[in-house]
């Protein structure tokens, strides 16, 4: 692991889970696979605390375990999975654009909790949505459930592996740790639950939404003891599916930039048709016939079949080679060259970095060198700059050593934490005042009294807080933007190193 990777993982673990989990997590990232007692010894932490830390890390898929021959269990950190935490806002936002607020909260809860049963998730999301609704309105469990089903159907959420049912019935001594398995066919199978109910508000007043006095309501909280209908069936966010979505977005955007809106919509349609059928790492999508594509165009998109065929021909003829023609049946068979597109996106990303860091002249040399191999094959004039092989090695090296990207994100996080710490006193004061105002409002204070409390924060202080908020948001946004660069480069590397 590079220093930058460790640094960034450390920052992320600490921000999300605190000191102890950070200590254990970083230790495992540095040392590799270790059993519990060794972790406890090396980090000088009590075995009990190590267990708790490992529980959190395993719950969030950040650490995995393996049973070894002698019966020892070793724990291993998944560094790349830790870095995915940077992408959580993007996953949540995607769910929001596809499935609106309900989808957003479902994915957010899953990411915050690691794994959840559908029943617990639906209840929690219904409660949260109810909080935001007008007085008297509540969110039906059924509505949340149906959004959940859609997320499962489109593979954005998936079942977690479970304890194999035959495990404990096998002869011999019991396993020190369970083996978790999941059948491919079951991964997106939603259990048949009839979740009936509505979200509940958290009220600080005496009565709750149903008008029952608080004392009586406490008795109802024993409904926690009701049997959970889907006990043992846990769900998690399917990050790979989100990555496929991001990749598709990048491809559509590239086509729109290079060609036009209509071409990009056609490509979007082709990608949508290939969503579930083509594995992420495939070099190209399954061939699609022009007839099929025509039928699958979004309703209201009225171009004639003839015009569609023209667009497809243009796409296939384009020097970028994003779309290829693979046959003539069905009006013409077309594929999207995923490897080629990802390569072009990665190249464009590097060109962008060279351009901004080193200027136009260097960018020209860079593009020339990248194309040189192509030129050599065509036996055109020899622009001897850097040998093609060296250029290719340089390229791969730049791509695989993401250090600059990770370090940049670590720097942004450190600056954000610094800005917050600098204004800690003021932030705490502001929070105290807000809390006082909130409780005064609840007990029905007068406008004048509220005004007085609000004035405890001076105008310059208010300005300072606004500036802080703006800065923190800007730094946050920048982290996400740098992660977008990482995503494009990693997608290219992955697509070229996975075995077909």
């Amino acid at each position: 692991m590079t220093q930058a990777e460790i640094k960034l993982c450390s920052l992320l673990l600490q921000e999300h889970f605190g000191e102890i989990v950070e200590k254990i997590g970083v230790h495992l990232i540095r040392t590799g696979s270790q059993p519990l007692r060794v972790i406890a010894h090396d980090t000088r932490t009590s075995p009990d605390q190590v267990k708790k830390a490992l529980c959190v890390l395993i719950q969030h898929n950040l650490v995995t375990y393996q049973v070894h021959k002698r019966g020892t269990v070793e724990y291993e950190a998944q560094c790349s999975r830790v870095l995915r935490m940077l992408r959580y806002p993007r996953y949540i936002y995607t769910a929001k654009t596809l499935y609106s607020d309900t989808g957003e909260l479902i994915v957010e809860e899953l990411l915050l909790n690691g794994k959840m049963t559908m029943s617990a998730l639906v209840k929690r999301v219904a409660d949260r949505l109810t909080e935001t609704m007008e007085d008297g309105k509540t969110m039906d469990y059924a509505e949340v459930s149906s959004t959940f089903v859609r997320l499962a159907d489109t593979h954005f959420v998936q079942r977690c592996p479970l304890v194999s049912p035959t495990e404990n019935s096998e002869p011999g001594p019991p396993q020190p740790a369970p083996t978790l398995v999941i059948n491919e066919n079951d991964m997106y199978l939603v259990p048949k639950l009839s979740l009936i109910g509505k979200g509940k508000r958290r009220r600080s007043s005496e009565d709750d939404a149903t008008g029952e006095p608080k004392a009586k309501r406490l008795k109802h909280s024993t409904d926690n003891k009701e049997p959970i209908p889907d006990d043992g069936i846990y769900w998690q966010a399917n990050l790979d599916r989100f990555h496929q979505h991001f990749r598709d977005q990048a491809i559509v955007s590239a086509v729109a930039n290079r060609m036009d809106q209509t071409s990009s919509e056609i490509v979007r349609t082709m990608l949508r048709m290939s969503e579930i059928t083509t594995p992420s790492s495939a070099p190209f999508t399954q061939p699609l016939s022009s007839n099929e594509i025509f039928r699958s165009l979004p309703t209201g998109y009225n171009i004639s079949k003839q015009v569609l065929d023209q667009y497809l021909t243009l796409l296939a003829d384009d020097p970028l080679e994003f779309v290829g023609k693979s046959g003539d049946s069905g009006g013409g068979m077309y594929v999207i060259n995923l490897h080629k597109v990802l390569g072009s996106l990665a190249t464009a990303t590097l060109e962008s970095v060279v351009q901004e860091r080193f200027g136009s002249r260097c960018a020209r040399i860079f593009r020339l060198v990248l194309q040189k191999k192509h030129l050599e094959q065509k036996q055109v004039e020899d622009f001897a700059m850097i040998p093609a092989k060296e250029a290719k090695d340089m390229l791969y090296k730049m791509l695989s050593e993401n250090f600059m990207l990770l370090q940049s994100i670590a720097n942004l996080i450190e600056r954000r934490q610094f800005e917050t710490k600098e204004n800690k006193r003021l932030l705490e004061k502001s929070q105290r005042v807000e809390a006082i105002i909130a409780s005064m409002q609840a007990t029905g204070a007068e406008e004048a009294q509220l005004q007085e409390i609000e004035e405890m924060i001076t105008a310059p202080e208010r300005q300072q807080i606004e500036t802080l908020k703006r800065n923190v948001n800007k730094l946050d946004a920048s982290e996400i933007q740098v992660d977008e660069t990482i995503f494009l480069l990693e997608s290219y590397i992955e697509s070229n190193t996975k075995r077909q």
């Binding site: 955007s253 209509t262 960018a363 600059m404 370090q407 940049s408 450190e414 600056r415 920048s478 933007q481």
Partner: protein
């Protein structure tokens, strides 16, 4: 309502055709807005400035934008082949155009023009295609003709270069606790204040 920057895309069809079709059936307000955008040229123009220049209310402007965009979209759905072919220019056509402009004090040959065009290719701004041409076709050399057209980059500037660290000259010397650190970074401070 977010501010947007607007400019005219290189037209997919014959520029004269598009302009005429836009003017057909558009009212004076649309023509005015279109003219304002066109005058801004390649730099584009902020929607706020269009409001000032045209003195039209925001709702009107938004309606006009929608109409103009729809018209362009409608245009481009019609004849993709024709649009594409008309967006190419041969090196001969470019050479003739530059010569007629008279902007060069030195006499430029077609090969000179092609060298300049190559530079633009390595700038990622121009794309070249070679097609077979009949002997004797104007601008053809050895039965081939080089066609060029302007292209857009496939991605906007990448995330890394939009953060201060991506452009920082002392990146390697920077670490928390050092003389140069994220906490005391002047580039970050400037960038935050921007």
């Amino acid at each position: 309502m977010a501010e947007v920057k607007v400019k005219l895309q290189p037209p997919d069809a014959d520029p004269v055709e598009i302009e005429n079709s836009k003017m057909k059936g558009s009212d004076n307000q649309e023509k005015l807005v279109y003219q304002i955008i066109e005058d801004a040229g390649n730099k584009g123009i902020w929607s706020r400035d269009i409001r000032y220049k045209s003195n039209l209310p925001l709702t009107e402007i938004n309606k006009i934008f929608k109409n103009l965009e729809a018209e362009t979209a409608r245009e481009s759905k019609q004849n993709p082949m024709i649009q594409r072919n008309s967006s190419f220019a041969s090196s001969h056509e470019v050479w003739k155009y530059i010569c007629e402009l008279g902007i060069s004090k030195v006499e430029l040959s077609m090969e000179d023009i092609e060298t300049i065009l190559n530079t633009l290719i390595y700038d990622g701004k121009v794309e070249m295609t070679i097609i077979a041409a009949k002997e004797g076709t104007v601008g053809s050399v050895d039965g081939h003709m080089k066609l060029y057209r302007a292209v857009n980059p496939i991605i906007p500037p990448t995330g890394l270069v939009r953060a201060p660290c991506g452009l920082c000259p002392v990146f390697d010397d920077c670490h928390e606790g050092g003389e140069i650190s994220p906490s005391n970074c002047i580039y970050m401070t400037e960038w935050l204040e921007f």
